[in-house]
Structure formats: structure tokens, C-alpha cells
């Protein structure tokens, strides 16, 4: 057990609870709860958004993957980065110009509210809950390893803290927690990378040469390994990563916290810059671990494997270059990272329940703000309990596939509906609902029948669906379905919806007509 780590983590938690307290004074109405008042700057938002992508999974997981196989870690890194130009070019500005609190606001802008909101909320909740389970399980295991706490206590601590952040501090608290954590993580990772490269006089050539000489696979670690082995998987994974980002509800939510489209644009540039820089760092850290950790007996257990597992590569490296102090700092930062990400996810889920389902579907738009706020706090607590419960159940399962499925759902349900409702005049409510639901079901079924769940989890011998990544198929189903059922729709609702397109498009492209933001 690491005293420094525990101390730093207590300081961090204390500080973030204070921020939550500060935020709670200002989060008295819906606008502040969902969008932090609407005056977050592009730079701040960029940091917060990048925080969502610099999760413990990417920091530890990708550096761990690089530690094991080298080049393949880069494939995921680039995949997670390539979605950002897509969001910037197609989604960010129209989203900010059309919507208020959630992406369902935009998707249902001219369409019939109820069915679209239900579908969008389902898509959001599925994505959020899958992502949450994966994060909670990862968090539990990590804290168990770093601080020696029993797994279920770790899960309850994470769950409890995130409920506090969200219920009392809303978007304001979660944004600032993300910003602080992003700064800490970027600084910590930069420090590790600098300390590693210092030992090689900052010569990348010497650095990689040393890694090649130490790793059992030699030069092969600079080449693609077995991560992507066939063209269908390659395209499917590529599609899921590229378009899934534009369908993640907790990311899309952040675009409503800025004043206007200009700030929304800037957010993405800053975020892309930070995330890109971060992934270059994780690559260096992974290789640094190969050189300084893989041969060092103090980090290995009896069978010669890394203590913990490959996820601990970055943590061990921190100790190798910076002793107990840096180890403590990075461990506390890893914990902070988990808290920040799950808080954002919970807020997105609570917003889908309170704003989309409760306020707009069940209450027929009789907006009672106070009630909506109450529902959002109850939803937060409910989601927190659910996350803790599922986190405990899934302790021994391999939950990595859940993030992949979350991305696939985001790419096959949320993204197509959002994209087409912004840009395609002939979209109708029926088309969107049927096509979107078909895509959602396809993604879920194909994953259940695929190698990860059917074989690894249910222990069958052969998967029914041979590919790990369903996005190519589920996205095709969605787009075809939406196109077909919209084109054959000749109802009155369809005509009404199409007639509203021009004014919606005008507002989405110019921003003329959006809410005024509140100063905070």
C-alpha cells in the first residue's frame, strides 16, 4: 500500500468535493445542471472533452497494449482520434445551433418528438450503461491493485463519489473535475515520457533500438501484430471508431456547455490536439515500459509476468523513472481519471432519463423545471446504484467488449439519426424510428452471436457471427432502413416534417435563433 498515493488521492477527492460544493450553489436550475450555464470557453471545453477520451482505459490499456505488442496500440490510438474531424466537420456546429441540453433535442427538432426521444434515449442509455460497466470493473480492479482495497469497496467508493459529483454539481462540477484531471494526467504522462527519453538523450532512434533489443519479438514490435487480421474486421472496427465518437451521448452533451458554434469549433481543435499529444505519449510510455520494466525483477511475479497485468505497465514505469513520489501521483491521477469519466457518463444517462424521457415524453412537454431537476437527481442515484451493482456482478468477466459494443451502438443508432436529421430533407419520423431501432438491434444481436460473447462468455465452440466488430453491418442496416422507410412514407406527418427542414437547416448553419447563454 502506497501512503503517498493515498495521500494524493485524498487531496484530489477533497478538492473535487469542494468544487462540487461550489458548483451546487450555482446549479439550481436545469440550464446550469445540464450545460454549466452555457459559458464554458472553447479551451476549457476542449480540455474537458479530451479528459473523457483520456480515460484509465486508454492511458493504462493502450500503453499496456503497446508494452505487449508494440505497433498495435497505435491502431487504437489513431482510431480514437479520427472521429474528431468527423464531429467537427459535420456535427459540432449544427448540434450547438439546434439543441439545448441533449443530442435528442437536435434529432427530434423537426420530427415527431415522442418516438424519436424514446429511441435516442434508449440508444444513449445502452451506450452509457455498457461504457459504465466496463469503467466500473476496470476501476474496481485498478483500485484493488493500487490501494489494496477489496474490489467491492472500490466499486462502491467510485459509485458513491460519482453520484455526489453529478447529483449536487451537475455539468459544472463534472466539467471542472474533467479539466483538473486532464491537466494532471497530461502533466504526469509528459513527465514520465521526458524522464524516459532523458535516459536516451532524447534520441528516438536509440530509444526504439533499445526496445527492439529487449522485447522477445524484436523488430516485429514496430510492425502490425495480430490485432486486425482480415479486411472486414478492419473496415468494421474503423467505421465504429470513426463514427461512434459522433454518437457518444456524454461527448455530445459537452457541446451544449459553450456559448455558440465558434466556441464549439474551438473545443474540438483543442480536444484533438490534447488527445493526439496524449496518444503519442502513451506510445512512448509503452515502449519505455518495455525497456525499463519488462526486465526488472521487482515488477515481475513468479511466472515472469508483470505484477497486476499489462495494464500496470505505465504505473510500474512511473515508479521506475520517478520513484514512490511519481508512482503515488500517477496512481492518484488514474483514480481521478476513472471518477471523471464515470461522472460524465452518469450525467449523460441521467439527462436522457430526466430531460428526454420524463420531461418530453411522459409529461407531454409541460415543462416543470423543478420536477425535472428532481427526476434528474433521482435518476443519478438510480444509475449510480445500477452501476455499482453491475460492476460487482461483472467482476470476473472480460468486459473489454462492452466498450466496443458501446461504440458500435453509438455508430449505428445515435450517429445516423443525428446526421440524417440535420442534413437529409426527406427524413421522416417513421423512417428514423424503424431504421434506428433495426440498427440498434442488429448491433446487439451480432455482438451476442459473435466470438467474444458466444464463445468466450457462453463457452460455445464456434461463433454464429464470425466477426468481432459488427459496425459495418449494423450501420448499413440503419442507413438502408432509414432511407427506405422514409422514402415510402407518404403520411401527413412526413410532409410536415419535410416542410420544416429548410428553416431548421438555416438555423443549423448560421446559429440565428439560438438561446442566449447565462453568465457564470
Amino acid at each position: 500500500m502506497n501512503i503517498i498515493a493515498i495521500l494524493m488521492f485524498v487531496v484530489f477527492v477533497g478538492f473535487t468535493l469542494y468544487i462540487t460544493y461550489w458548483a451546487s450553489k450555482k446549479t439550481q436550475n436545469a440550464k446550469n445542471f445540464y450545460t454549466a450555464g452555457g459559458n464554458i470557453t472553447g479551451f476549457q471545453n476542449g480540455l474537458a472533452i479530451s479528459g473523457d477520451f483520456m480515460s484509465a482505459a486508454s492511458f493504462l490499456g493502450i500503453s499496456g497494449l503497446v508494452f505487449l505488442t508494440g505497433f498495435d496500440g497505435l491502431i487504437y490510438s489513431i482510431g480514437f482520434l479520427v472521429g474528431w474531424p468527423i464531429i467537427l466537420l459535420l456535427i459540432a456546429e449544427p448540434l450547438r445551433n439546434l439543441g439545448k441540453f441533449s443530442f435528442a433535442d437536435v434529432a427530434s427538432f423537426r420530427l415527431n418528438q415522442k418516438p424519436i426521444r424514446i429511441l435516442a434515449a434508449c440508444g444513449s442509455l445502452f451506450t452509457v450503461i455498457l461504457y459504465l460497466i466496463a469503467q466500473m470493473v476496470g476501476a474496481g480492479k485498478l483500485i484493488e491493485l493500487l490501494f489494496g482495497l477489496p474490489y467491492f469497496i472500490a466499486v462502491m467508493t467510485v459509485g458513491g463519489l460519482m453520484v455526489l459529483y453529478v447529483a449536487f454539481g451537475g455539468m459544472l462540477a463534472t466539467t471542472w473535475v474533467q479539466i483538473i484531471k486532464a491537466v494532471l494526467l497530461l502533466s504526469g504522462a509528459t513527465l514520465i515520457a521526458i524522464l524516459v527519453l532523458l535516459q536516451f538523450d532524447f534520441s528516438l532512434n536509440t530509444f526504439f533500438n533499445a526496445a527492439i533489443n529487449i522485447h522477445p519479438k524484436g523488430e516485429a514490435i514496430l510492425a502490425p501484430g495480430g490485432l486486425i487480421s482480415d479486411p472486414i474486421s478492419a473496415i468494421s472496427l474503423g467505421l465504429a471508431l470513426m463514427f461512434g465518437t459522433a454518437g457518444l451521448p456524454h461527448i455530445l452533451m459537452r457541446f451544449f456547455t459553450v456559448k455558440d458554434a465558434i466556441q464549439a469549433r474551438k473545443s474540438v481543435v483543442y480536444a484533438t490536439g490534447f488527445i493526439g499529444y496524449f496518444y503519442i505519449l502513451t506510445f512512448i510510455i509503452g515502449f519505455g515500459a518495455i525497456i525499463l520494466v519488462s526486465q526488472n525483477m521487482s515488477y515481475l511475479n513468479e511466472s515472469g509476468d508483470l505484477i497486476g497485468n499489462s495494464n500496470m505497465a505505465a504505473i510500474h514505469l512511473a515508479h521506475a523513472v520517478g520513484g514512490d513520489l511519481l508512482l503515488g501521483f500517477i496512481s492518484a491521477v488514474a483514480f481521478a481519471t476513472i471518477l471523471a469519466v464515470v461522472s460524465g457518463l452518469t450525467l449523460a444517462g441521467a439527462s436522457a432519463i430526466s430531460h428526454d424521457l420524463y420531461a418530453n415524453v411522459f409529461n407531454h412537454k409541460k415543462i416543470n423545471e423543478k420536477k425535472e431537476m428532481q427526476v434528474s437527481k433521482i435518476a443519478t442515484i438510480a444509475l449510480g446504484l445500477l452501476a455499482i451493482f453491475l460492476g460487482i456482478i461483472f467482476e470476473s468477466q472480460n468486459v473489454a467488449f462492452m466498450v466496443g459494443l458501446a461504440f458500435a451502438i453509438a455508430a449505428s443508432t445515435n450517429f445516423p439519426i443525428l446526421l440524417l436529421s440535420i442534413y437529409w430533407k426527406n427524413l421522416t419520423t417513421k423512417g428514423a424510428v424503424i431504421g434506428g431501432s433495426a440498427g440498434l438491434l442488429t448491433a446487439i444481436i451480432l455482438v451476442i452471436l459473435g466470438p467474444v460473447v458466444w464463445v468466450d462468455v457462453f463457452k460455445n465452440s464456434q461463433p454464429i457471427f464470425p466477426y468481432k466488430y459488427p459496425a459495418l453491418f449494423s450501420m448499413s442496416v440503419t442507413f438502408l432502413g432509414i432511407w427506405f422507410f422514409s422514402m415510402i412514407d407518404k403520411s401527413k406527418d412526413a410532409q410536415l416534417v419535410r416542410s420544416k427542414f429548410n428553416s431548421q437547416f438555416f438555423r443549423s448553419q448560421t446559429g440565428i435563433g439560438i438561446d442566449k447563454a447565462i453568465k457564470h
Binding site: F71, L74, I75, S77, I78, L81, V82, W84, P85, I86, L88, L89, L90, L204, N205, T206, F208, N209, I212, E219, A220, L222, A223, P224, I228, S229, D230, P231, S233, A234, I235, L237, G238, M242, I262, R265, K266, V268, V269, T272, G273, G276, Y279, I280, F506, Q509, T510, G511, I512
Partner: protein, 92 residues
């Protein structure tokens, strides 16, 4: 909308369309080419650059990361330079 507003709006849409399609292609084509080489001919990426301990794959990977960032930067630069003035004209 007035005639002049119509014209301004149309040219705004045209500018946006041009830059968006251009940058989309500049994002999608390099990325999927990168992925395709990994899927079909990974050995190309495994080759080391003459005299260095760096592979073509790693070098191109880093370049692609920088390229992706550069695309976003290009768009904001273009948007602030060309698009915003047009939007401001329409707001009047």
C-alpha cells in the same frame, strides 16, 4: 428572405460544402488507406527505414496523428476567415 439574403445564404452554404467535403476526404482516405495496408499488406509497415530503428508503420502512424490534428486546425482557420463574416452579414 430578401433577395440579397438568399444570395448570401447560398454562397455561405456553397463555401461550407466545399471545405467540409474536401476535409472529409482528406480525413477518410488517409485513415482507411492506413487501415487497409494493415489488413492487406502489413509487411510494408514492418519495414525499417534505412539506417534507423524506426519502422515505416510507426513513422506514418505518428504523421497521421499530426495530420488529423492539422485537419481540425485547418477547418477552424477557414471557418473564422471565410464563414464567420458571411454569417455576420446574415445576422444583420
Amino acid at each position: 428572405m430578401l433577395q440579397t439574403e438568399q444570395k448570401e445564404y447560398k454562397s455561405l452554404l456553397a463555401s461550407r460544402k466545399l471545405i467540409v467535403i474536401l476535409l472529409l476526404l482528406l480525413t477518410i482516405i488517409p485513415y482507411f488507406s492506413f487501415i487497409s495496408i494493415i489488413a492487406f499488406k502489413p509487411s510494408i509497415f514492418g519495414q525499417l527505414i534505412d539506417g534507423y530503428s524506426l519502422s515505416i508503420g510507426v513513422a506514418l502512424g505518428f504523421i497521421l496523428i499530426l495530420h488529423i490534428f492539422f485537419i481540425t486546425f485547418l477547418y477552424v482557420f477557414f471557418a473564422n476567415w471565410k464563414i464567420e463574416p458571411m454569417v455576420n452579414k446574415l445576422k444583420k
